[in-house]
Amino acid sequence: MTGPSNTLLDQRRSWLQGVALALAGLGLLGPTGALHAQSASSIASTTSGGGLDRLPNSWPKAWFEAQSIAQALALMSVKQPQDAAGQLVIQSADIAENGAMVPISLQFQAPCRSVAVLVDKNPNCLAALLEIDPRIPSLSLPIKMSQSAEVYVLARTQAGGLVMARKEIKVTLGGCVVG
């Protein structure tokens, strides 16, 4: 890698790094600010944030507007995640009375660094994209469910694997309309 194009890339890289650091300092950068600042050199090549390797640089509108799990996974460039096989477990009630508030708990049996929470049959499937410190062993958050459906949680483990867990939750009262 030599020549003027490389110099340009370096310039862009250091510029991006500078901007990322400046924004992170101001607390203005999106969720992955500090992590990006540490690895700004890779921003240029992975701006899409695909494959859940790292989160996109800004709120990914298209991902959040996906109307099916398949569409969301395709937009996220996720291909053939492995079954979590216990590395990642979704805990929740089997039956939720109110779809407007369904607490779920994610147990990271294997340390994870990024996580996507998706709800099948919701008008917009993607509920959350998270980047976490791999030392965090679990996380609970409340989702909305429009009807009985499967919740999918996809995670990039610290070891680099992409795993997916799912759990069916029955909903007595749908949450998108009342919530």
Partner: protein, 103 residues
């Protein structure tokens, strides 16, 4: 919207349990108001939790997160006296920041 962010972090055994509640209507854009029209979407899009200035959780959220969401997570690396900060930005560009201490 009232007090936008409440942080509670307490040592529990060998870990610290953090609870963060972000007061927000988290309007999905799918709900009809009393006038029969859809209530426009209005929800938190980004949030971040930092421990002593380093992010431990960064998130992009969509409309399928419940109203006034409560995030609960253990922080095994945290200790009593550590500083926590939580911030969010919503789909209309409003933002909130709050700070707390592990007790």
């Amino acid at each position: 919207m009232s007090q936008a962010i409440r942080i509670r972090a307490q040592v529990e055994g060998k870990t610290v349990l953090l609870r963060v509640r972000m007061a927000h209507e988290m309007e999905s854009g799918q709900r009809k108001g009393s006038d029969g029209r859809l209530v426009p979407a209005h929800f938190i899009q980004q949030c971040r939790i930092s421990l002593n200035g380093r992010p431990v959780l960064s998130a992009y959220l969509g409309t399928a997160i419940a109203k006034d969401p409560l995030f609960t997570l253990p922080l095994p690396m945290a200790q009593k006296g550590d500083k926590l900060s939580v911030s969010w930005t919503d789909s209309r560009g409003a933002s909130q920041v709050a700070e707390g201490v592990v007790s």
